[in-house]
Point group: C2
Chain length 414, copies 2
């Protein structure tokens, strides 16, 4: 085995880990001993205290409290309570602007619908052609229902200025590209969108929990993101939604359900939106899913987001250094200002290589046609882990084991 | 204390319970010893085995399996797998027509949207003015997005024939009225709707798990229902959605997310609906909520729905017999063909009376302005429970204890 001689040795990594104030947070997660988990950007790991918290909610709040827990355990206020915690610690959002509910797709439908209504007479909903597909599917379905509106797809965010004009109603962008890990400058891009009189909607799926976000300071209009990636809320965790306070009074979203009503228990036949961000709720909140996410926020609040970001950049730098001499193409920007918390490497046989890594216990994922993605989650990954993962990739490529038949493409992957 | 002499004594109830083949299922639920729970029509009780199943999914599938569980634990197929089980055992729906996902409100938006598109040129979405409000809010929001459509509200389902005409696109009805417990004849009403060329959408929130439903046999077009009432799926459990197979090919729903795409992992920028009922999915399914619901289906499959229905009618009859001489007005039909699994009693001070009952451990609920609701769930309620609940109501009314200040109206109730 050869190594990249400019990068730190495993021993040097271990020494850095020992001095890392975030390193002890690793103990707050339950991870299998035989796994190096580089897929926290797809499904975050299980926080150590989540099973106990969830068991308590199930046994005490549901089993014993029963229907009384809507009031006594505060279930009614769970979407907003978690939203405030998330907003304050990770999103740079003052209280009363974030709710946790539904899926990212459903929340996107709500905020895009509200945004289009706030820009009557403008027709273009601008998005990136290579956005995460569900964003495009939702935008497509939605514009079909809002007369005079249509999706306008960019080949890349760099084309944005060329299309922004007086007909641009809304621009939907991913803060980090799910394929390449490229990070956009939220404040600068939002400002350009606003200069055109349009509204900025951000998809934070790949940044919430990965780096500090300043929604209020950046002047963002709406945002959505998922709870099951860096936030570690569990598979299919409820998503979140941000609506800037200045849009609450006039903001009308299309999924008008009883939890978004001004007087939910008056049972009026007509819909009247609640005050504030509550009007962005729809149906009954998923209490158990919210409880799991709440336990993960307890861990998050032990970590300084700036320290998490610094370590994330260190881990991704390290992985790129350690793999720089391999026969793969790094597509993630080296510039830290343009990099999220993942590294994407291109190889025509990426699918097989990822499968061979998984067989060795190094879990990354693959995105068609040729991208291997490795997510770096500073709460539970160390520099030693990164070193070991890079070594495994080096060995898989050197041995050619990925050519084995068992690594050929099969069904669905995530 | 006086009693209603025509009804069975508590001893007679106990003897009937001892001979009841459903009685042992009570042991499958965890209920507090000091509670008589008559609110399973609002939030079902906790099945005994749910905590263990959920803990296993969390620890093994999430904690150890991590991202691999999407394939290895079958998470991808969970919405359809649970839908098939629910359809086969409780809904009278052949496989491939039911999915479990999202909330009832969100699912209703999907099926009403699909239904309106299947009846182009027709404008009326008919619903009952006293339907559960979220149904009306969703219908209202939706028709605002489908040009040429509008809600048409009936004072009662009895007026249906008077409004059905060639402009009726869709009729949305509740199988059981959430206030009164009145049951509609699904097959007969659906036939009348079809004779007008319209589509029938049923809200099954108060019948799924309460009585046998025959969606296929009744020719229903679409249906939705919630997982947290009689189905015992837990607070905010995922809801379900039925779409008759004949509508799959042409059915296009508005919430077009990646889980409803024909080739989800090809990451195409354009939306193409999946085959079958899968096209009614939207975002990532709530795996933990689905796991809790799955454990409750294990209990349901031990019970014959016809036996559950027979016992339900016996329990509601018994409660009405035992309270017939009290100073309350029974608004639930005595005719078993028109009765769901709850009894609603009207009293101008119903709010306080329900609070006084809750203070005694007898949990029902209240719906403004004057209805006390008592749900009867044959899986975990006995005739003795019903007798004790009726005695408690008799005592609360006789003592006037509900006049105490502590029972005055406060905040939200469910």
């Amino acid at each position: 085995m050869t190594t990249n001689m400019t990068a730190p040795t495993r021993e040097q990594c271990a020494a850095l880990d020992a001095a890392d104030p975030l390193h002890p947070l690793r103990e707050r997660f339950t991870l299998p001993a035989d796994v190096l988990y580089l897929d926290g950007n797809s499904l975050g790991a299980l926080p150590r205290d989540t099973p106990g918290h969830l068991a308590k909610v199930v046994a005490d709040e549901w089993g014993t409290g029963l229907i009384r827990s809507w009031n006594d355990a505060g279930w009614f206020h769970q979407p907003g309570r978690l939203g405030d915690r998330l907003g304050a610690h990770l999103l740079g959002a003052a209280n009363g602007q974030v709710v946790v509910c539904d899926s990212t797709s459903v929340n996107l439908f709500k905020v895009l619908g509200a945004a289009l209504r706030l820009r009557p007479g403008r027709g273009a909903l601008v998005a990136e052609r290579h956005a995460f597909p569900t964003d495009l599917y939702i935008a497509d379905g939605l514009t079909g229902l809002y007369p005079g509106t249509r999706p306008v797809l960019l080949d890349s965010a760099a084309q944005l200025d060329a299309v922004l004009d007086g007909d641009t109603a809304v621009v939907l962008l991913s803060h980090v590209d799910y394929r390449t890990g490229e990070l956009l400058d939220m404040a600068a891009v939002t400002e350009r969108i606003h200069r055109a009189g349009a509204l900025a909607v951000w998809d934070l799926c790949h940044t919430a929990g990965a780096l500090p976000i300043e929604l209020d300071a950046a002047g963002v209009d709406f945002a959505v993101g998922c709870g099951y990636k860096y936030l570690n809320g569990g598979p299919g965790a409820p998503a979140f939604l941000y609506a800037a306070e200045r849009h609450h009074a006039a903001g009308r979203q299309p999924l008008t359900g009883w939890f978004g009503h001004a007087r939910q228990f008056d049972f009026e036949p007509g819909y009247r939106p609640a005050e504030g961000v509550t009007r962005f709720l729809t149906g009954t909140p998923p209490v158990l899913g919210l409880a799991a996410l709440e336990a993960s926020l307890d861990v998050w609040e032990l970590a300084d987001p700036a320290a998490v970001r610094a370590k994330s950049l260190e881990l991704t730098d390290l992985f790129m250094d350690l793999t720089a001499d391999l026969d793969v193409e790094a597509v993630t920007p080296r510039d830290p200002a343009r990099r999220g918390s993942q590294v994407a490497l291109r190889h025509p046989e990426g699918y097989r290589i990822v499968q061979a890594l998984i067989a060795r216990g190094v879990i990354g994922d693959f995105r068609a046609p040729d991208l291997m993605r490795f997510g770096f989650t500073p709460l539970y990954l160390s520099r030693t882990d990164v070193h070991d993962a890079a070594t495994a990739l080096r060995e898989v490529l050197a041995s050619g084991e990925w050519r084995e038949e068992r690594f050929a493409r099969r069904g669905e992957v995530t």
